[in-house]
Amino acid sequence: MTKKENFLKGIFKENPLFVALLGMCPSLAVTTSVENALGMTIAVVFVMVLSNFLISLIMSNEKLAALVKPVRIPVYIVVIATLVTIVEMLMHAYLISLYKSLGIFIPLIVVNCIILGRAEAFAAENKPTDSIIDGLGMALGFGVAILIVSIFREFLGTGLLTIWGDLQFDLNFIFDFLRISPLGMFTQPAGAFISLGFILAIIAAVSAKRQEKQINQVKGVKANV
């Protein structure tokens, strides 16, 4: 597996949210605006890259790995929780409005299955550089996924796209054109469930089609042979 494949698999083939259905809670809760999704992505990228790096650093040292092995899950948890707390404090100090709107979901990155899962499944068995790439890919894959959900929700719910702070796009003219006004439901919990449900269904449909195509191609190749 090349470095590029390693990086890209997190975004497409093994996308944590869309394919593996991990990290549903934050993807439903923080996707009310693009800004929140971006903030969450930054936090997850930070935690994931560093935790993957540190854990693979610990585990690639054979002596240390032997010592750590029996208590490796608590060790992972301690490392991840430390990184999450650092992110929490930094965000509180420098991006306070974002901190307030993400609320409890920043500390809850700790129990985000993606991070612990990657630590156990990848970082513990691979070199630090590969682990960083893997972590970056996975975190960005998660970020892309929640960004898609949040664009969907914020646009339908308010007609706006808040990128960061005052940088805001008003797309209400599309609604004006359709002579309706934004559907407030999409900023509500019900809208979160419905958006994610439909996005997952679309992805399932697309990937099913692609698989069918691949099978047909294989069949075609065989028939030609």
Binding site: R179, I180, L183, G184, M185, A190
Partner: protein, 399 residues
């Protein structure tokens, strides 16, 4: 009919009967809806036209809206069949599927639930939610958990309620005039009383609309099809006579609402029989009783289950109406009970076959306790007897 033969409970019995196939059921159902549709047309269109307030084409609008609802739901379901089943997407198989899945019914019922000033595009959204989300995504007719029309109505009421009351429909010219024929509903007025906590009386609740006879005939404001108890009763009698529905489900439901509102009325000092009568004649109680809680898919199928279902539904309707801040309690209580139709159906089937033994007995006792609690809460909360409980609660606090 092959799809229902494999043990799909709702139609096993009916499809076994001679000459009662899907087509006749659908036909009977549509015939039952006919008086409701005609009355609604008379009230919202013909009468207004005869008064000289709208022109001839505007007179057709209520009829157009109802037919549009049925048409839209057929079209949407057709498109869905076309998209999902690529192998047989010829016209014949699709039209066969459309008839077996009663495609036209949710749209018509939906249109009958909505008020006259509903814009066409809101109706479109509602039929999309009803047929696609509420029915087809759950696996099509026979598998849906929620009543499709009701789901469309509830979600549209939740998200687009502003458009329903603000807009004037397609023929905007008659907007103002239609208002006088479909203005504040009786339950809207009732809600104001329960919100402010003021006492209500015959004079404030009924007299603005004339007398209770008007409520029975249906010349009061409200949804297109839900106002006329008379038309609904005619349809209901037809359905019972044709053995499409059981008579006791609507009767128990309406009876529960009647008795509970009577008790509540007595407790707040309105002992007259007018209050419970008013209670069952306003809002969607009658319409739901005949056309919605008898629907075979989303309600229990065996008699015991039907009785339990109707009892709970009636209680919850009263609860939401008098205690919750929803003037119309029918839709919410019915969609909530749709969920519980599944266990009620299972366990009442067990009780019916095996008698009151485990596990049916434990379920029945749990259900009974819950029922008593809900009834007690409804009555206590409706008449605000919280103050009567204060001493007990205070003692509790001291301990």
């Amino acid at each position: 009919m092959a799809r229902f033969a494999g043990g799909k409970a709702p139609f096993l019995r009916i499809s076994d009967q001679k000459g009662k196939n899907t087509n006749t059921i659908m036909r009977d159902f549509l015939i039952a809806l006919l008086p409701v549709v005609l009355f609604s047309w008379y009230k919202n269109g013909i009468q207004v036209f005869l008064d000289g307030n709208i022109n001839f084409f505007e007179m057709l609008y209520p009829l157009f809206l109802i037919i549009m609802g049925g048409f839209l739901s057929v079209v949407m379901e057709g498109i869905f069949f076309y998209v999902t089943d690529k192998k047989n997407n010829n016209l014949k198989s699709i039209s066969h599927k459309l008839t077996t899945s009663y495609a036209v019914i949710p749209g018509i019922i939906l249109a009958l639930l909505l008020p006259i000033y509903t814009p066409i595009w809101v109706l479109m959204v509602a039929t999309f939610i009803a047929t696609i989300i509420g029915k087809m995504l759950f696996g099509g007719f026979g598998h849906n958990i929620f009543n499709p029309a009701l789901l469309g109505y509830v979600i549209v009421g939740f998200t687009l309620s502003g458009f329903i009351t603000d807009a004037g429909g397609v023929f905007n010219g008659s907007e103002v005039l239609i208002d006088s024929y479909a203005s504040a509903t009786p339950l809207g007025i009732f809600a104001q009383f329960s919100n402010t906590g003021e006492a209500f009386s015959f004079a404030t609740l009924v007299e603005p609309y004339g007398n209770l006879w008007n409520f029975f005939i249906g010349t009061i404001p409200g949804g297109l099809g839900e106002t006329s108890a008379l038309a609904i009763l005619i349809g209901g009698i037809w359905l019972v006579a044709r053995k499409i529905i059981k008579w006791y489900t609507p009767v128990i439901y309406i009876g529960t609402v009647f008795i509970l509102s009577w008790i509540i009325g007595i407790n707040v000092g309105e002992s007259g029989i007018w209050f419970p009568t008013y209670s069952i004649l306003t809002g969607g109680v009658m319409f739901a009783a005949v056309f919605m809680i008898t629907e075979p898919v989303t309600t229990p199928t065996n008699p015991l289950g039907k009785v339990v279902f109707a009892l709970f539904l009636g209680t919850l309707t009263v609860l939401f109406r008098f205690v919750g801040n929803l003037p119309e309690g029918v839709a919410t209580s019915l969609i909530l009970m749709n969920i519980f139709a599944i266990p009620i159906d299972t366990y009442s089937g067990i009780i019916r076959t095996r008698g009151f033994k485990k596990p049916g007995l434990s379920f029945a006792s749990v259900l009974f306790v819950i029922f008593i609690i809900i009834v007690a809460y409804t009555i206590i909360a409706s008449v605000n007897m919280y103050t009567a409980f204060l001493p007990i609660i205070n003692i509790w606090q001291v301990i």
